[in-house]
């Protein structure tokens, strides 16, 4: 496949939308997401020989995309500053649990609104399923920092989700806010 453009196109065409969804969640703009997607697929094609056909190909590509996104965030100034995980900027924890009636795109857009540090840790833990120990190793931070950042990210996101859901409920009920 490495030297067959048609096969490469088939692979890209099959996985690009889902992988773009991954990149979309880790970045703030569509353009940045496409940059990560492009970089990720270049790595996929250049390292395809390392794929052993033992696990899920989608999971392997997704892992490359996540790693590429993390590298991108560390490398670019607009993200790198937020990845310093400054404790002063922490948001308060909200106890509320929303019903989560929103669509995937709406959730993804809300995740993107989180500060980069929160956004990254939320994606890694809640969506990718990494433990806080793994996240600590990946980002070079303490496990405790990862936990607290996640808790605040989650609370902030829940608040926003609840607000959006309230707005939507009122909208469909014909109420004015």
């Amino acid at each position: 496949m490495k030297h067959i453009p048609e096969a490469q196109w088939e692979l890209y065409n099959h996985f690009a939308p889902a992988m773009m969804g991954v990149c979309y969640r880790y970045t703030k703009t569509h353009s940045n997401a496409e940059d990560v997607l492009q970089e990720g697929f270049v790595k996929v094609f250049n390292n395809l020989s390392q794929y052993r056909f033992e696990g899920d190909l989608a999971a392997w590509i997704r892992r490359i995309m996540v790693n590429t996104a993390l590298t991108y965030l560390k490398k670019h100034k607009q993200y790198a500053e937020d990845l310093a995980f400054d404790e002063i900027k922490l948001h308060p924890v909200s106890p509320e649990n929303p019903q989560l009636l929103l669509q995937a795109k709406e959730i993804a857009d809300l995740i993107r609104q989180l500060p980069t540090g929160y956004q990254t840790i939320f994606n890694l833990h809640a969506v990718e399923g990494f433990t806080h120990v793994q996240i600590g190793e990946m980002l070079g931070i303490d496990t405790g920092t990862s936990r607290s950042q996640y808790a605040r990210a989650r609370a902030l996101l829940m608040t926003w989700i609840q607000n959006v859901e309230t707005v939507k409920e009122n909208f469909y009920a014909g109420k004015r806010i």
Partner: protein, 454 residues
Amino acid sequence: MQENEFEKRVRKLMDDFQVSPSASVWEQVQARIMQRRRKWPLVLFLLLSMLGTGYLIYHQFHENPPGIVQAKGKTTRPEDLKSKDDRQGSQEQNAVKENNLQQNIVIKTEKPTANRSAHESAVSQNVHQQNVGTEEARSPEVKEEDHLLENHFPTSNPATSEQQSVDSNSINQQKTDSVSAPKTDTVSRRIAAADSNSEHTTPIQNAKVPEKNSAGKWSIGITAFAGKSNTIEQLFGNSKTYPSANYVNDTLAPGTTHPDKPFTASGSYEAGIFVQRKISEKNSITLAINYLHFSNEAEVSNSNSSFILAVAGPAGVEYVNNYYMPAAPEDKMRVKNKYDFLSVGAQFHQLIINSKKTPLYGSAGLSALRLLSANTLIYDNKTNTYYHKDEWLSKWQGSFNAAVTLHINLNHNNYLFVGPQMSYGFTNLLNNKNYVPQHLFNYGVQVGWAIGKK
């Protein structure tokens, strides 16, 4: 909703979440994969070039050191020919001489030259018959030796036939030795026998020793260049023939007029290594590998990305959404274009003014340039705009170069050189025939240092 359920729900939603990327992402991915693939031949080419050059230098400096002169396909040191004391060839000759003297083969004559020729002729005939029997059975080595001998001693004169017969007795004695002697001694014996017959001449001394000259001498060196470079439409003349503006996007007005010179010259430098071989007293050739940096500048107005510009790409219409208009008096900025090349070239050098300390050389040569990277603005003469389209640049360039260099001989094997140099890319820099051709051009001063084997 419980805490774990929230994560599960988010994960489920995000796993199914898809966004369609724009078409350009695949094009860029493909271009980068191809770019990586295209680097392999270049890396291989460079590797082979370096190995080849290294082998050439090693071979020349270790197996055929400069100072050794070539004579008839055999390698002989001039000092070997002159010295009879400590060289094997001379020892053999001395041994044969002594042998002949013991046999009292001393022939005095009033015509030493003719006598020598006659004697040599007899020696040749006898030795041939005794050693190998027939002409067909003789090895190429023996034939070569005969040829050498004939050159040293011209064919015998019939008038000396009487003398030949006188010699024959002594030669017959010599034949006996020749039968048992190795073939490789044949020339030495014949030369020595002839030598012993003459009191007036010494063939070894009289044999013309090739003069020591520097032809075939190898040297290696480093070179550097600094100057200015630009892209030009042609080397001589100024015949711009811009077609009328062809704006696909109707909302874009032509606006400014075409700039007189789309680009102005900027800094250029190069550095590299070379290996040089003297092919005669006045000429030499050089093979060089250089890294070259070219640059030039465009004076443009601020970026205008309000419109999408449709332009004529090499394979069809392409769209540009970030381009520059030519500079206006009140609104201008300078943008530098940069090109990095690797070149492999050959150059011929001709001595113009001979001087022991500071000879002057003229040089001309051809180079193949491989584009390593570029960050440039293309000037689109149809839409009168500048924009980035590095993929339109030809990856390979052919270049002609000429130089005049003053050599400063530091010692016999070591010299510096300095002088003006110019080069002109005779191939089109743009891989897009829709636009006016662009050629690389640079000029400046080169300096270098070369060292030969002592």
